[in-house]
Symmetry: C2
Subunit: 434 residues, 2 copies
């Protein structure tokens, strides 16, 4: 007997039905905003990730040398791939470019609750706009996807921050501070003791008093105070941009889900402007559910023309989102559903198959016997697939030109003339014949 690989997961039909419903809802929301689906390769050159994140990233990648001698990796995230795609066709693509896709990614990390080595994300990005409306549309479509799944404003919040506020304040305090390291410290701060957090800021180049002042300033979250504290045009502009984005979320119907949270920073280095993370408002799901933000420099760093960009990625399978949906009681039922089972006993296959085809032509999910089984075995199977209606095509009934229509929930059944089932009806049930 062979075993599944650690950190990977098989989805059987019941669980899959729930996950697919979630994925379809997210994709349908995103599609209504005019994001267009793309599809991308499962592997890229390892260099793509090393250039962006350094050699140490290889420890987290599924990387190998292919038979042609290429150093390649299973893609750990989508952003470098879409950046490559934008660069490749930047002349032909009309801006703004609005793309989405859903597919698995792979990271060699220690599995934990809601974290697998293979996980499925829907990635949503806008390229070619630096206007606050593009950040706001990303926040709005993310919020709509969650409310479409049955969540409301009491269930989740988007903690919104701005990389240029964090970086700008740091630069106003000490021109030599390692901004990327300090921002990584902010990103980890919620999980750290106060002293540890301050020490990481000191490691990044701040003196202890400055580290404490910086941490207090972010925690306070007063934008006017931030502008005064820094006293630089950079920070004033960043605060203005953040306020403009929040104002646009008002028009776009997403302001109520947004909380100003300067302690939020996002882990990846490539972010440049507004960033956000989605959290469970109750705190029961302790980690960020997903996040996103602006990354205006990435396309250029990949050899493209300067192209602003903003986006988010939400994990739709093997991720934290199912934990939030379960906590909120809106996780879809993990079960298969079936509209009709057409039960054939005796020499009735031709008629039963015809009934099944008629019902399928009307768009219904219809099973019929493919195993030559007894009445009882077929009835048990119909029950196991949650058939709503069973149409019994028996030899005796057929002699009278009839079939039996059985409502599985109640067990009620009635004989119906064959020509009346389905007849002209779009979705005939027991109730139509009594």
């Amino acid at each position: 007997m062979y075993e599944r690989i650690k950190g990977f997961r098989d989805f059987y039909p019941g669980a899959m039905a729930a996950h697919r419903a979630v994925r379809d809802e997210v994709e349908s929301t995103v599609g209504r905003y005019g994001f267009r689906e793309i599809a991308t390769p499962a592997i890229e050159r390892t260099q793509l990730y090393v250039d962006k994140s350094g050699e140490e990233i290889v420890e987290e990648l599924y990387s190998f040398t292919d038979h042609g001698g290429r150093e390649v990796s299973l893609t750990p995230e989508l952003t470098p791939t879409v950046a490559r795609m934008v660069v490749e066709k930047q002349q032909e693509l009309s801006k703004p470019i609005k793309w989405y896709s859903t597919r698995p990614f792979w990271r060699y990390e220690e599995p934990q609750q809601g974290r697998f080595r293979e996980f499925y994300q829907t990635n949503v990005d806008i390229f070619g706009s630096s206007a606050p409306e593009s950040d706001a549309e990303i926040l709005a479509v993310a919020a709509d996807a969650l409310t479409g799944l049955g969540l409301d404003g009491d269930d989740f919040e988007f903690r919104v921050s701005h990389r240029d506020i964090l970086g700008g304040v740091l630069r106003s305090m000490d021109a030599d501070v390692d901004v990327a390291a300090a921002i990584r410290a902010v990103d980890k701060s919620e999980k750290l003791e106060r002293v540890e957090y301050h020490n990481l800021l000191v490691d990044a180049g701040l003196d202890l008093a400055s580290a404490e002042a910086f941490a207090d300033l972010l925690a306070e979250g007063d934008l006017d105070a931030v502008v005064d504290f820094a006293g630089t045009d950079e920070v004033a502009a960043a605060v203005e941009n953040l306020r403009a984005v929040l104002a646009a979320t008002e028009d776009f119907g997403a302001r109520e889900y947004c909380t100003l949270s300067l302690d939020t920073a996002r882990g990846l280095d490539y972010y440049t402007g507004v960033v956000f993370e989605c959290f469970d408002s109750t705190g029961e799901v302790g980690r960020a559910v997903f996040g996103g933000g602006r990354y205006d420099d990435l396309i250029e760093s990949f050899g493209g023309q300067p192209t602003p960009a903003v986006g988010f990625a939400v994990g739709v399978m093997n991720s934290t989102l199912p934990l939030l949906l379960q906590r909120a009681g809106v996780w879809p039922e993990e079960a298969v559903s079936t509209d009709y089972y057409v039960l054939s006993v005796g020499d009735t296959r031709e008629v039963a198959a015809g009934v099944a085809r008629d019902l399928r032509a009307r768009g219904h999910v219809v099973e019929t016997d493919v195993a030559g089984r007894s009445f009882g075995a077929q009835m048990g199977y119909a029950d196991s697939i949650n058939a709503e209606t069973v149409v019994i095509v028996g030899e005796r009934d057929l002699e009278n030109g009839e079939v039996t229509v059985k409502e599985m929930a109640s067990g009620d059944q009635t004989a119906v003339p064959l020509e009346a089932f389905p007849g002209e009806r779009q979705r005939p049930t027991y109730d139509d014949y009594v």
Copy 2:
């Protein structure tokens, strides 16, 4: 600038829209037959493939050692994975098990037209039935998927054969013949000169006269003659089974697409009963479009209880199917579509955003400005995304409580009171207001 890896493909929105339409149609047909979606890992232990196909398979695999020392491979096909999944839960799963899934697979082969190193298949399988109805349902659902895509009986044919006829005849001729090797020769026969084909059969252990007689018997395709030639119960039973399957396809509405073709064998060793391949009837697409068949021994060879199985896999992206659909003129248009573009000029964002949200709430694909652009730039963008209707929200119009509704195809436009758009209408267009 980074490059895509050879044999892999980026799908941009236009091409993706067409491929997604094909995939959705196939999945929807399969779903109506009551096949249930599953999802499976992208990697499996390499041993799974080596045990089944021998060490030489590794040359065709993307295989590597992960950071945990596991020998793993990107999955080159689904069947071993689903067999593993059936074995793992064989006690809980009610039979017949009917599963489908769509996802990429990977093989290190030389790319050619319709063949990539990464290709997407929808796999469809029934486990737990050896009845002819299960083979027939596989043929019927495959045929329905193709007719659902717009093909008809003049466009494609299923060449149907039977492994136990081929193997049984071989065994009746010479008990020591290498049946697997001879069947691989049959599988290749269409691409071979007659002499080469005969030589391969001789290599498999037949004498030349027997090889010629065997080849002629298959080419003739007369089932009575085959039974007489072999004179064994095995072949008589196999012929009876094949006839029963074809009779069932009659009831299931798929007989017209099936052609008896004993020269068809399928390449993989694990097939045991009925096998089939789909071909372009015009011959313009020269290779098999897809295929499938019965594999009754695989689950047991994976350590499970004996479980009959039958299925097929159709390539929905990076495969031969698009070539057939293009040849037949039914390939979906490679373009994005947009119901509405809401154009905002001047200080009208709040109203424009409200209109866009109202239209999205009705299920439409709606874009609006996220880049702060001019009237002309927005109009050009609306045209580039094939917007059907543009709703212009301008400052002047708004002062009169109006918006302008423009039909893009004709260029006709009219002023409409804001409260009437969308108002009570589900899908308002220019025609509704003139």
